[in-house]
């Protein structure tokens, strides 16, 4: 038991995490490619045409995974940030910092694809639907997190301040989501229910799950790439970095 704890803490140091991340990245890319190709194949060649929405519904194969990932990454980011704050482990704070741009990217993709889906289906690029609105607010939260970290020069302070903000954000997200939903049902005029829109065939669900896996693996791979750069930037004056860079 004791030995396994020691074992895990070993990877909590930047020195041992840097090469480990380097070894893991190709595997996550490979997994992303496998899931992505099979997901794309299902979403374009296996999944049938939707009775109501025609071929336009195929956007959900990227829209839903992007939305899922944008929310999931915020949770993971807050988890790492909180861990960094509680245990003072440097790598977890760096991981939180490296996840933020990917999360923001997912939120942006979710908004973009949501708009492209909304135009043909609802006749408007943007509707104040509860989910789209929450997604927009989530995007703002990501921007705030990144802006705060970028504005603080001392990396240790940036880590801790970012961690507090991420945790405050995590507490607030359910409240925001609930309030936006309440607001949406109150103003019935513009409500459009996305739940009922496509009657989900089994193959569609598979396509979505595979694409979500691809997005997930992609996010891990790119976050690990970025965390390696962050590790080198922050630890540039240490002896091990001088040896690690050949």
């Amino acid at each position: 038991m004791r030995k396994s704890i020691v074992h895990w803490f070993k990877f909590a140091s930047p020195q041992s995490f840097y090469p480990l991340a380097g070894r893991m990245i190709p595997w996550f890319w490979a997994a992303a490619a496998v899931f992505g190709i099979s997901g794309l194949w299902i979403s374009f060649f296996v999944a049938p045409t939707d009775a109501q929405q025609g071929e336009g519904y195929r956007i959900i194969f990227v829209h839903v995974p992007a939305s899922w990932m944008s929310m999931f990454i915020y949770m993971v980011m807050a988890f790492w940030a909180g861990l960094g704050l509680a245990l003072n482990t440097r790598v977890s704070a760096m991981m939180a910092q490296s996840l933020a741009p990917t999360g923001a990217l997912m939120a942006a993709l979710s908004l973009w694809t949501g708009a492209l889906w909304g135009k043909p289906m609802w006749g408007a690029w943007w509707v104040w639907d509860a989910r789209l609105t929450s997604e927009l607010i989530l995007f703002f939260l990501y921007l705030g997190f990144m802006a705060l970290q970028a504005a603080i020069d001392d990396p240790r302070r940036a880590d801790k301040a970012g961690a507090i903000l991420a945790l405050v954000g995590v507490v607030n997200i359910p409240i925001i989501y609930f309030s936006v939903k309440w607001w949406n049902t109150l103003h019935q005029g513009s409500t459009i229910n996305m739940n009922k829109a496509p009657s989900m065939a089994q193959t569609m669900l598979w396509g979505m799950l595979l694409m979500a896996m691809a997005f997930w693996m992609y996010s891990i791979a790119v976050a690990l790439m970025r965390v390696r750069a962050i590790i080198l930037e922050r630890e540039r004056h240490t002896e091990w970095v001088k040896h690690a860079v050949g």
């Binding site: 336009g56 829209h63 990917t102 043909p120 790439m225 970025r226 390696r228 970095v241 860079v245």
Partner: protein, 64 residues
């Protein structure tokens, strides 16, 4: 398989702009982001290598 021809596939039943706009944006950003991450890493590495060479030169000059 519901596509009779490649043209029909790319037309997406009239939704070409929306479907390809979504998938295209995802593909584009998911190529650009790793590229930027890669560049950030190689930039740090380059500057670290430069630093080390400068250190080595300095120590050589000192010994001479």
């Amino acid at each position: 398989m519901q596509w009779a021809s490649a043209g029909e596939f790319f037309a997406m039943g009239g939704y070409a702009f929306y479907v390809w706009g979504s998938f295209g944006a995802c593909a584009l950003l998911m190529i650009v982001e790793p590229f930027l991450a890669k560049r950030r890493l190689s930039e740090v590495r380059r500057s670290l290598i430069r630093e080390r060479l400068a250190d080595e030169l300095e120590s050589q000059q000192r010994t001479q």
